[in-house]
Homo-oligomer: 478 residues x 2
């Protein structure tokens, strides 16, 4: 029998070689693979192996079955969703974290993981210009971090929901204020928390897709007049669709006036506040109660690492802390991160953030963010310069929403046309883009965020877009 | 300026060398480090670096600050909580997953990750003897998997809670049935879901810490008579405290009689069902609605990878699916895992499970689980053979709960005595154990689950336990 624990050195060497080869030419792959649903399942055995296999056989299948069926987020022409990439040092750190494999639930199960989280959170808070008294906590995703913030907001109402639940009690309906641009995780959280979708209020936006503060105030006033209780306002800094930026400072004034929890979702864009000329992105956040930023989005940290900053961390503990006997510890003065959320066990996520912060330094990160933003601005200029193309939303950061809009076509025809252009572009395998809708208008999105993306990559995307638009079957004007 | 993307080969080589050296002698470290809360924070700079640093400097700090302040879960004498360890192939797979760094929310963002999850889930389900029609889905932790199961159970009630919420409606109180031995994540889920702690019903246990089925039936009947609505029964196979095993088949009969969702939490022990002589652990699970098992606990997969198996996955989608425009895709026939829970982005977790299943083969895993169970049984015999020591709970698997119990001492004195023995043992740095309470009696727990643990390690733990007991200040009999 093979001893699967004896060949570590060889296995790490082989994998290290593969990783190095991969990153020499991530652009040698198609960005989006040419596979259909079911292809990978069909290529793999229906039953698990009874006897252990040599590592080489597994790695060979990884290379021949998995990699060719992977959408390559590291490809320099991955421009879809939010483009990301992992720094080499962070990949090395992930291997170290998997090696130590601590379960960072208690200080005593992982003193270094617990305290490195404290240190990196202070560093990140300082880089973002947050009040020093705020507490940062690492979660897996912005969805969980945002859920946790809303659970804390519910606990902060002091309605004894933790103990008594929400059914059969004389509670007012709890209301959460978002906009059409707010990330879907907020509505998911409202569902999970028993708030209900109908109590998620969509405040109207202005023409730039930003929350209208007058409308927010009117919504809250109307709800209070109807004996409803505002639970939280969620402001977005860098919405997923267009990277629109809600006016946090003005929203905070409304939140203060009505005593409502203000959560700021800056999962993507918040990181840019470490660049001095973009520090204003987080203007007013010091008046909020909580903030999410995602180092795994735009800080070269591999998935997953999302950060929730809190003005008052105690309320999260009040919402979630539950300590069974077998997890009681003698260290009365230590932080036990299991007290801060649903999850008990936690990976050593701070390690990869520490490696990236040190390897790049603040300046190294700033330089790359500036580069990404400059590339997006240049792309937007190219689009604006072409009469048949339209930019569809402000583009303050590294995402541009646009469409091909030859004269005389209505929005429905343009939707079909641009969807076909997008699919044609993606089918080349050279470029991967995605779409959204801006005020009901179908928009192609080009997002820049990969360490390896150069001007030539953006230029190539533009060439292919124009080529596919030129050869697309333009519907007759109606 | 240092280019932090150019030195990948060297960084991976350095880290690979470190990992190999580490695993040559994980027992050269103290299991639990000699640090106090604050030591690591004090050893690190208060502010983030402005300029990027050489990788060597970071790795040196990792070795000199982080590793010595780490509790070493890989140490062969880590016997606390649930002992775990990561297979080398799984560590290599984690490096590959961090490299590809896909966000596995949609099939099209990660076809291979999506389909390898389907394949490994079928393999695992087959190894566990689950009905082939069940669907396995990977989550980060059992806490989230269990939360998801309970959210699905709530949705399955068809009370329009997703849409309307739980406040101000003519809903019956929803009740969840557990025992004093049930993992704390169930109560956390009840808090989060708005059920409330008071609606978590603790059904009495028998002498073996197992749910009493007659008492369960009585609780449900009383609640129904009081116009309450049973939401879910949570049965545990391998409780965290003593590894007690609730009678799932009989509980399932009660669940069927009353039409209640049955969730089985087998996070630790369920994996052992792949060993034929322990297949009976999951007896009756086919009658349940959902099941959690944790490959990151006892299957040599590093944190985090927990699996939720579902009889009917559609109800989870009903509970959670929400698709914003920018995540709509043309592949109508593909699985998009973002539809199955709170989290949108997901790591490529299936990869490490695939590597372990193939590298060990089912036989390789079974052999190790048998070995761990045999070691625990042998340890329990040693304890039983000593008149002054007591085994405090049945020990069907790889965990033994026991105490030093010289004659004439009451439970309170024995608690102080055994707590001091445990702390003395842990202070040696040679062994790490933890504690629990069994029916109010303080118990030391010895848990076996590490790939590197040998008989000699267990023997050494026993020597140290006896030595520390002999030198402990035994209180005067009252």
């Amino acid at each position: 029998m093979i001893d699967p624990t004896s060949s570590l050195r060889d296995e790490l060497d082989r994998v290290g070689e593969w990783i190095v080869r991969y990153f020499e030419h991530p652009d040698s792959y198609r960005v989006m693979p040419q596979v259909r649903p079911g292809d990978v399942v069909a290529a793999l055995p229906a039953h698990p192996p009874e006897i252990g296999e040599p590592f080489d056989a597994i790695l060979a299948d990884f290379e021949q079955i998995i990699v060719p069926a992977t959408t390559h987020w590291n490809h320099p022409r991955f421009f879809a969703y939010f483009a990301t990439s992992a720094a080499p040092a962070a990949i090395a750190a992930e291997a170290l974290a998997a090696t130590l494999d601590v379960k960072a639930m208690l200080w005593r199960t992982s003193p270094a993981a617990t305290e490195l989280e404290e240190v990196t959170m202070r560093w990140l808070g300082e880089l973002l210009g947050l009040p020093p008294a705020w507490t940062g906590i690492i979660y897996d995703t912005a969805s969980i971090a945002g859920f946790t913030a809303l659970a804390a907001a519910r606990e902060a109402l002091d309605l004894a929901i933790r103990e008594e639940g929400m059914i059969g009690r004389a509670l007012p309906p709890l209301r959460i204020y978002i906009t059409q641009e707010t990330h879907s995780h907020v509505e998911k959280a409202a569902i999970a928390l028993g708030i209900g979708q109908r109590n998620v209020v969509r405040v109207p936006c202005d023409d730039a897709f930003c929350m209208r503060v007058d409308a927010l105030r009117a919504c809250i006033e109307a709800d209070r007049a109807a004996a409803m209780r505002p639970l939280a306002i969620v402001a977005t800094v860098g919405s997923t669709s267009t990277t629109s930026i809600d006016p946090v400072r003005e929203i905070a004034a409304v939140a203060r006036d009505f005593g409502v929890w203000l959560h700021v979702d800056a999962a993507y864009a918040g990181i840019a506040a470490i660049v001095p000329e973009f520090r204003s992105l987080l203007d007013g956040v010091d008046l909020a109660d909580s903030l999410v930023v995602n180092p795994h989005k735009w800080m070269f940290v591999p998935m997953d690492l999302s950060v929730l900053f809190l003005k008052d961390e105690a309320v999260v503990r009040r919402a979630f802390s539950l300590v069974p006997e077998y997890l009681t510890t003698p260290e009365a003065d230590a932080v036990n991160y299991m007290d801060y959320g649903l999850q008990l066990g936690r990976r050593f996520r701070a390690l990869k953030l520490w490696f990236v912060l040190r390897r790049f330094g603040a300046e190294g990160i700033r330089e790359r963010l500036r580069g990404h933003i400059a590339l997006a601005q240049e792309f937007a200029e190219w689009v604006n310069a072409e009469p048949e193309w339209q930019v569809l939303a402000p583009h303050p950061l590294s995402v541009v929403c646009f469409r091909y809009a030859p004269a005389g076509l209505d929005d429905a025809s343009l939707e079909a046309l641009n969807a076909s252009i997008m699919h044609a572009v993606n089918a080349t395998g050279e470029v991967f883009i995605s779409h959204t809708k801006t005020n009901g208008r179908y928009a192609i999105r080009l997002a820049i965020g990969n360490l390896r993306t150069q001007l030539s990559d953006v230029r190539r995307a533009w060439e292919i877009l124009k080529r596919e638009a030129a050869s697309a079957a333009v519907p007759r004007p109606r």
